[in-house]
Amino acid sequence: MATKKTLQGVLLYLGYLVMFLFIVFPLYWIVTMSFKEFRDIIAYPPRFLFKPTLANYRAILGLAGDGAGFAFLGYLKNSIIVSSLSVALSALVSIPAAYAFARFPMRLKDNLSFTILSLRFAPEILIIIPLYAVFSKLNLYDTYLGLILVHQLITLPLTIWILRGFFAEVPVEIEESAKVDGCGPWRILTRISLPVILPGVAGAMIVSFVFSWNNLLFGLVLSGPKTQPVTVGILQTMHFDQINWGWMAAAIVFSIIPGILVSGYFGKYLVKGLTEGAVKQ
């Protein structure tokens, strides 16, 4: 019996080890690459031990002094602006919508909520190319407003869907008593139900922030030099076949920091947000 237990334990930790290496090694590799000098990067066999340098970071932050490097902070700023405002707009719009989907009897409810969810499954190019023409006409091309609007395609369905699951969980009895006291539906939502599901709102916002941050295609087609996000900015470290590996690695590290920070602080909300919408109908 004891040996069987030990064997199970060994197998469990072996599984952990394989999973850990598969997930973490690529990240470890790119982080160390960002601290390597060029000759250490191209060395073969690859070097695990090397003298670390901050030159790549200085270059991409424009601190190199000799004018080398590129304005990575600008891309970072653009991504932060677009993703956080997109998430904020989505939250504002979807709190009442998700509440209505969860609570009110509506004839079109099922169709509507499925339509909104199915936006999530449409190929992005389908919307982006026609929008490109519209944006050019309305002067929305390469503006924050334009990008925030198009990012709703990602953030809105996610937020509505996740929040609907949370609202459905709130016991109807709490709302009943408020109604007896003469509260209208808007007040019930803002005073009673919303405070209860604040963790859900946090989860939904984090999930949609991460997905918005990770998006490439919207920025690739609909943003220009003024508003390009990090996912597009990183590609600027490559010109034709000349890749500046060190800069690229440093830029990658910068581009993944916000996601890791956000989920480090609110990790449990991230998982909650991701799974809650899925589990609850």
Partner: protein, 297 residues
């Protein structure tokens, strides 16, 4: 629980439910206008720099289905999607089982699991492309250490598509595992206890309790992964740009290049319509199954 009376009272405020949805609806309509314009464009010879646009009926579609390149892209796209599902669903299920076992490291491993979800797929493509470099990439070096001949990875038409699916697996298996783990955790403890009292073995419990309970979760995660892998773009765009020799030219990539590089909006929209119909059909079928599975529970 007085549900009927409750329903009645709420519906007396019948104007408000739609009022609550209006802002979201406005945004959705804002998306539908370009969608309709895309449908229309797919029936025209629209080009970016040419003002005149003519209605040409089904010509774009007929041209597409006659073109060998489109047929190949269609095949590759379906293969990519099926292979991703075939790898990621069992692997994700395995990881979910692994992380459902109580242990001291359980919490830590769950944090590790979330990491790939926080990396933009385009960046993951870049990281792996660096590691998969055929001459001085770390992967071939590691293979050499265990005496395996170096692989061409992304640089050969034979291995490129599989390499891209490997990257896709790194990025998206955690998503599969997380949803399935949530499913596993929602199995009521009484159900499992009752089964062990009845003398059910590990295999019995898996077959008659765990798997049926997980069915809605598996369906749901399949919906997401099927649609997302069919319209996969970011990883391939960075890792191979559709090459070598179009070996990884998925439909989404093809539509993008047609529109951006060749300015052929009409043709691009025809490609994207085919892709969209595929995504829509598969998600619609699976969503209906999912609804049925949830109702049974």
């Amino acid at each position: 629980m007085g549900g009927l009376a409750h329903k009645k009272r709420l519906s007396s405020l019948c104007a408000s439910p739609y009022l609550f949805v209006i802002p979201a609806l406005v945004l959705v309509i804002g998306i539908f206008v370009p969608f309709l314009s895309a449908v229309w464009t797919s029936f025209t010879d629209s080009k970016l720099y040419i003002a005149e646009t003519n209605f040409i009926g089904l010509k774009n579609y007929i041209d597409l289905f006659r073109s060998g390149q489109f047929q190949q892209s269609l095949k590759i796209t379906v293969f990519y999607s099926l292979l991703s599902l075939a790898v990621q669903l069992p692997l994700g299920l395995g990881v979910a089982f692994l992380l459902n076992i109580p242990s001291r490291m359980q919490r830590f491993m769950r944090v590790v699991l979330v990491l790939p979800l926080l990396i933009p797929p385009v960046v993951a493509g870049l990281i792996w492309r660096t590691m998969m470099h055929p001459t001085n990439g770390i992967l071939n070096h590691l293979l050499g250490l265990i005496r395996i001949a170096p692989l061409p990875w992304l640089s050969s038409p034979k291995t490129a598509l599989i390499s891209v699916v490997l990257i896709d697996t790194w990025v998206f298996t955690p998503f599969v595992a997380l949803l399935l783990l949530a499913g596993l955790q929602s199995i009521p403890a009484e159900l499992k206890e009752a089964a062990s009292i009845d003398g059910a073995g590990v295999l019995d419990r898996l077959l008659w309790i765990t798997i049926p309970w997980l069915t809605p979760h598996i369906l749901l995660v399949t919906i997401f992964r099927a649609a997302d892998s069919l319209k996969s773009f970011d990883i391939v765009y960075q890792a191979t740009r559709g090459g070598p020799l179009n070996a990884t030219r998925l439909l989404h990539i093809m539509a993008y290049e047609e529109a951006i590089r060749w300015a052929g909006f009409g043709k691009s929209m025809a490609i994207i319509m085919v892709l969209w119909i595929m995504c829509y059909a598969i998600t619609n079928i699976l969503v209906n199954r999912w609804k049925r599975a949830v109702e049974v529970m």
